[in-house]
């Protein structure tokens, strides 16, 4: 079993790239990652993507990406796990390199949300749900978050405006991230003014779908990893867990049990405790997911997640930094690519290259990605040696 090191990163800005295709975006990220690394040789490329097959009518995406990026001689395929596809590709890269069967793997997350427009795209993003029994009745990811929010408010009675804490933090951090989609801070008053529906979400509770590509080179070759600069960054753990796909099939929809399972396995594997984690890139596709995640991770008691998020300092210099580069909410949410963006952001932090968003002395970063409402959850732990 080989150690797995991060040895090159690249990311395009996140946004509505009307003029760029899946090929354009992925090859830009790949170029950046290869230029950033000390090697140009790649054995395998694992693509993470959710929508290309249906929204862009493009299957066999890994082959298209490799071909377009001029990577001859690689093996490739696409990993799909709903919105966590990027994290699934990262897991695939980890398994390949850790097993010793692949020396250098390029993990590429790419998503083109803007190849088509209209209600067809809303149907596309609902494809991660149970089609026959959730999507068929008109449910969407946003509606799932609405259902969870209404139930959470009913059960625990937090002040509604407190649910915006991660969104406010994300926007603040995005100001310092040149790759972010929305680089403007919002105040808690602005969050509240956007509406506080008791049975649903306001616009700041919803991470904006967007286009983007991010790439991360993984290798077992320590020399190459060291030569990249910024210190030796190791991918210490990669763990995944699932829950019932449909929200209605879970005994306790607010429990996010796959988060609990995934994070415990990862911490155990990495032999790390929460107290040692310097930053947590949690999955903020919707405000309620951040709240339920921190409860499921054991960082706050059931029903107290909102308070932990609202009352503790989570800025880069704070007690437990979260969404340090803007998260899905403000950096933007390139769906199947998001998991790789999170990993790249963690590496940026551990290298000390995060500029005004730098978490001082960051050594251990925990990254969590999910498909759907924690239907499929991936936890990765990076550490600087």
């Amino acid at each position: 079993m080989e150690k797995v090191y991060a040895a090159g990163i690249g990311q395009t800005p996140v946004g509505e790239h009307w003029d760029k295709s899946l090929s354009n975006l992925s090859s830009a990220a790949i170029q950046l990652a290869l230029n950033n690394s000390a090697t140009l040789h790649v054995d395998a490329l694992y693509a993470g993507n959710m929508l290309a097959s249906s929204a862009s009518q493009q299957a066999n995406l890994g082959t298209l990406i490799a071909d377009n990026a001029g990577l001859t001689g690689v093996e490739t395929f696409t990993a799909e796990a709903g919105e966590a596809s990027g994290a699934a590709a990262l897991r695939m890269g980890y398994i390949a390199v850790h097993s010793g069967l692949v020396r250098t793997a390029l993990v590429v997350g790419v998503e083109k949300y803007t190849d088509a427009v209209g209600p067809e795209m809303a149907a596309e993003t609902a494809s991660g749900l149970d089609y026959d029994f959730e999507a068929m009745y008109g449910l969407t990811p946003e509606a799932q978050a609405g259902l969870l929010t209404a139930r959470y408010l009913h059960t625990f009675n937090p002040p509604r405006e407190a649910l915006g804490a991660v969104s406010v933090l994300a926007h603040k951090n995005a100001v310092g991230n040149p790759k972010a989609m929305y680089r403007r801070a919002i105040s808690p008053e602005r969050y509240a003014a956007a509406g506080l529906p008791g049975d649903g979400l306001n616009m700041y509770d919803i991470a904006p779908y967007a286009d983007g590509a991010a790439a991360l080179l993984l290798t077992s070759d320590k020399k190459i990893a060291e030569a990249t600069g910024g210190g030796l960054i190791e991918l210490l753990a990669s763990q995944s867990a699932v829950d019932a796909l449909a929200l209605h099939d879970r005994p306790d929809a607010l429990a996010f049990s796959a988060v609990t399972a995934s994070v415990h396995k990862a911490l155990a594997r990495a032999r790390v405790e929460w107290a040692q984690v310097d930053l947590f890139e949690l999955w903020d596709a919707f405000s309620i997911y951040g709240i339920l995640s921190v409860e499921a991770c054991g960082l706050a008691a059931r029903g107290e997640g909102w308070r932990w998020l609202a009352e503790i300092d989570h800025s880069p210099a704070g007690d437990m930094p979260l969404v340090t580069m803007g998260g899905n909410k403000a950096r933007g949410f390139p769906i199947g690519a998001a998991g790789v963006y999170q990993a790249v952001e963690a590496v940026v932090q551990l290298r000390g290259e995060a500029g005004e968003n730098q978490v001082p002395g960051a050594k251990i970063a925990l990254v969590q990605s999910m498909g759907g409402p924690a239907s499929n959850v991936f936890t990765h732990i990076f550490a600087r040696s």
């Binding site: 209600p119 809303a122 029994f133 008109g138 946003e142 259902l147 099939d249």
Partner: protein
């Protein structure tokens, strides 16, 4: 045209026909190959009464394709009296506000068309506040 896909699920959708596990008597909806309670093979059809209560709900103002004409609509998690929870739209609401815990009953309504005005009509379960 997704004809076979919808045809397969007609009984389940029209009348909330699920399964009863012959091993542990758990009531299952929708029908599954493996009982989620005991892991045994589940196959006996079971017709649910259609009675349940609202576990959670949300009002949708952005619809996926096929549902735009019916906006805004309310979608809910409904806990059936017999145990399972289903996702379904609430219908026949008037100005009365939906409450979590509200008792509801199943009705069979038009869900959508398959594609456009030439496509097959898809009927299925929705829930309304209990009548009377």
């Amino acid at each position: 045209m997704e004809i076979p896909r919808h045809w397969r699920l007609q009984k389940q959708r029209y009348a909330l026909v699920g399964e009863e596990c012959p091993h542990c008597s758990a009531k299952i909806f929708p029908a599954r190959d493996v009982c989620p309670e005991c892991g045994g093979e589940a196959k006996e059809p079971f017709r649910f009464s259609g009675r349940g209560s609202v576990y959670s709900y949300t009002v949708m103002n952005n619809a996926p394709a096929g549902f735009e004409k019916t906006l805004p609509y309310t979608i809910a998690l409904v806990k059936l009296d017999e145990g399972p929870t289903v996702t379904a739209q609430l219908t026949d609401l008037n100005d009365e506000e939906v409450q979590i815990g509200m008792p509801v009953e199943m009705v069979t309504r038009r869900i959508k068309e398959d594609g456009d005005e030439r496509g097959m009509l898809i009927y299925g379960y929705k829930f309304r506040p209990v009548m009377g």
